[in-house]
Amino acid sequence: MLRRLLAWIDEPVPVLRLAIVRIFAPLAILGFMRGRLIHADEWIGDAGFRVPDLGGDWRQPLYVPALPSWAAWGVAAAMVVSGIACCLGVRTRASALVFATTIAFVALSDRLAAYTVTKLSPAVMIAVALSPAGARLGIDAYKRPRKHGKRPKRLRPSGAARFLQVLPVVMYSASGIAKARGDWLKEPLVLWSHLHDSYQTPIAFALASILPGWTWTAFQGMVLAFELLAPLWFGLARTRTWALVFGLAMHTMIGLMFGPVLWFALLMMTLLVGGYLPERLLAPLEALAERLERPPPLRESTADAAAPPDH
């Protein structure tokens, strides 16, 4: 069992899967953070309200004093620059690590504005930093063949890639159990009950007005079955693509119906696409990467040294 698991981890995966997460996860995270970033001094600085030091209260995982405004703006700038650098594939390992550090800092500094995106993202970005995510489809990946005359490898074994692949499945499974232990098996209108607060979008309102009550119970059952049995759906080759389609549809609806949850939905969709998009659908991206990463034509004297693409 353990040997099979290790063999699965060691199996080479397309680096493009990691590049997808490297490109889109920072965008989703920065999208979520944008409202906070433009008020950085109010958010983590001394210009806004701060919960006082509660000396070990369970609601305050760590007391971080307010930063002076200039430092708050500095953290915000570091987050934006490192997030964009990571997305563009500029010094990916370093930029992903700085990005992860700034997110972890703000998650601890301000409990009030921290949500799942804030708490989940450091793990995602550390995995990106530990992976070869910057080796393809980025600025460094574009420059490298021009410098060294070598194309990047298409496939590489990566524990971080496996981490990013398993992460959404672990989350769904745990979330499904939380729902089953909560009200989702007892109350037929749990989903309906969440449509009426300040998260409500025009689409949520329109659907709540049009659809009969039983459809919300049906959606609730589908979501619960998807999440509870996610290890099965994503583990079996036969159901994997359908699970991907269902997951993407579910997050699309969540994003469209629950205003600010859009960014969480995009982050989860990124993990799903990066982890489970069928390889044949990676082909257009592969073609684009090949074009970008083609070494410049070599002069005759050095042509012999040109390395073929690695596989």
Partner: protein, 197 residues
Amino acid sequence: MVDRERRALWLRRRRGALGILGAAYFVGVWLDGAGSGIPARVLPRTANYFVQVAALFPRAATASIDYRAEGFVCSDRTWTELDTRPYFPIDPDDKENRFNRVMHFFRDNRPTMTALDSYLVGRHDLAANDDGIPRDRPIGGVRLSSLRIPIPSPGDRLERTSRRPLSDYPAAERQVFYHTPKSRLSARCGARIENVD
């Protein structure tokens, strides 16, 4: 050769350590989401905080909840709704607003409510923002409430969720969680305050 072996050994060890960390993270996320208290017992609070990511919307909402503030206008000796959004500008129109969050998490925590009281009074009295109470009228304190708006049943005529004045809601849908003590109202207003709700 020795260097290469050493490097290979170091890489193996690093890989093993990262593998254990990754697996521990998954176990923490899964157990926490599944409702186990083990992560909270064995992990430092900071680490435990980062594994609390999976238990999303496990319960049905029993009401649509909003939080509001009123200021005690010293000159009128009345409570008037105070719009907190200028003082909590992040996500002003939804429940991710920091005022809503501080009320959600800390409404029963006296030190936090006292700090919030001082913050709101201080901000209003700076007279730099329009918050529903004239800038030239200082306030002596705040009253902080929750609104619990009933959820309609399927088939009911629905109204788009919007922010309405506090006075539009019946008393049964409001619950006061905190108000500035009279002694502090008196001190801030510079006059003895009696017979205040």
